[in-house]
Amino acid sequence: MQSAIDTNKIETEKRFTINELILEHKTETFKQFVEKAIEVEGVIKEITFRNDKYTIILSEKNHNTLVLCEMQIDQNQKMTKLNVDEKIKIKGVLKGVLMDVIVLNCIILEK
């Protein structure tokens, strides 16, 4: 299912490194970024394709928490050019945390 949201048209609320985002989710201020567009820079741990959607999983050496970035459909062509262990900057809508930080409607900003 394609979401009605297009992240290309939303202004970025805050920029994080993956380490900053993982630390931020344990603070009270994290809530203010939920449902807002954020940018996160990190290293690709894994790329999955399930239920017709790509997800880029970012990880940080010192944390068990991952960042799951579910990609917008318009990013599909770019996905085949990405590699694990590559550094990437992603923009998406922050949704919250379970075991991992969840970001939806993600687009690739730069490789």
Binding site: I5, E35, T48, R50, K53, G96, L98, M99
Partner: protein
């Protein structure tokens, strides 16, 4: 580890690390459908967390409500702001056990999962008919259940009442791998 403790750790601590013998799904799919003569509403969530312990047949699931995707942004807004109140109740959870599950069987087992489903701080016992597929070193669990809107304190304004079904059909599809640090 008993079921209650496992659930508490899984649901309330984002530092919880699964133990040996536990299988994890970080990107499970949960879909729901509301069918009425006025409108059909469908949503899907592809980032659902679940742990499964074949040895004890225990299963726990945690669903981030804001991660449901809708076709229309107004539906997404109504769902999170009015019906579910996602700021107050960000997660739905399930904790239960597969009845008569046999971990030694490879292939398909159709079984009943009995447990407690919690949504908006209301917990109700549920029974789910599910298919469990053991393949190599993974488990797939698929199933469906119905959720009554009135059971979970979901307040639908009278004006929108004809648009929302009294009974919501929920289906899920999880694929578990052994947890590796």
């Amino acid at each position: 580890m008993n079921k209650f403790l496992l659930l508490l750790l899984f649901v309330f601590s984002d530092n919880y690390l699964p133990a040996s013998g536990e299988y994890i799904e970080r990107q499970g799919q949960v879909m729901f459908f509301s069918y009425t003569s006025v409108e059909n509403i469908q949503a899907e969530n592809n980032q659902v967390n679940s742990l499964f312990k074949p040895e004890t047949s225990e299963i726990v699931v945690s669903v981030l409500m804001r991660a449901f995707v809708f076709k229309k942004s107004l539906m997404h807004e109504h769902f999170n702001e009015s019906y579910i109140e996602s700021d107050l109740y960000p997660k739905a959870t399930f904790s239960g056990k597969i009845i008569d599950f046999d971990p030694s069987i490879k292939g398909v087992q159709t079984r009943l999962i009995k447990g407690d489903f919690t949504l908006k701080n209301t917990t109700k016992p549920v029974e789910i008919k599910a298919k469990i597929i053991a393949e190599d070193d993974t488990y797939k669990i698929e199933g469906a259940l119905s959720v009554l809107v009135e059971d979970y304190d979901i307040k639908v304004p009278p004006l929108l009442s004809p648009n929302i079904a009294k009974k919501i059909d929920v289906s899920f599809n999880f694929k578990y791998s052994p947890y590796e640090k």
